[in-house]
Symmetry: C2
Subunit: 113 residues, 2 copies
DNA sequence: CTTCATGCGTAGAAAGCCTACTTGTCAGCC
DNA sequence: GGCTGACAAGTAGGCTTTCTACGCATGAAG
């Protein structure tokens, strides 16, 4: 699926993935891919800058570690990030409900209510 | 709510509103506002260009009419637009499912399943 | 030694929405 | 008559976010 539809929700996804434990950038991409059954295959050019943005915003913190000669920057959620994630989640529910009011209630849909 | 989150879903919303019957631009904005309980209050600078885009794409057609001396451009869904809307709807479901996999399954959420 | 998977990163382009503004009619009020 | 506010359409420029396409480096496999 087009990741362009993510616009504005990517940060929430990244925070949600990191909520389950610290990961480095490459692993975040894999977590999103496997966790979505292959639907989300984000390019590094999308994820890395986004993680930096989250770090600048104070939602995540990063630490360097060298594993097998490979440099890894491991990201982990901060307390502030946890609060941000909660906000993103409620924002997501609101968004889903609002848009769903128009798109879920179709003429030939499995009416949800 | 921030309409920026719409990014990519606005077209689907407009098509969905017009599915219920032809409307002019201003009425589309009101339909979105009332239909969303005030959540979606889109500025004209967002809606009008979007409707033009949909017209260029062949998803809607417009006709001018003058009511009480006021010029109205009424938009209505084309057959192509109906097909596009169906695609947008399935795209929306996929998007919702995929993102929901990460954001709905929170630690303190009303688990949907 | 070449290729591939892992791993990080940047630069420039493209897309989409928002803010702010303009134009015009009509109704109501002073 | 002049002013304000709701209705109705539209444009221009800016901002944010994501994507495409690259570059650099290590280690394992052939």
């Amino acid at each position: 699926m087009k990741a362009q539809s993510l616009h504005g929700h990517l940060d929430a996804l990244l925070l949600a993935v990191l909520e389950q434990g610290p990961l480095h950038g490459y692993a975040v991409i894999e977590a999103l891919r496997t966790g979505s059954a292959g639907q989300l295959d984000l390019p590094t050019g999308t994820v890395y800058p986004a993680l930096r943005r989250l770090e600048r915003a104070g939602h995540v913190a990063s630490t360097w570690s060298t594993v097998n000669g490979r440099e890894r920057r491991t990201y982990q959620l901060t307390d502030d990030g946890r609060r941000a994630l909660a906000g993103e989640r409620s924002g997501w529910r609101e968004f889903r409900t609002t848009v769903g009011r128009f798109l879920d209630t179709g003429p030939a849909s499995t009416a949800p209510a």
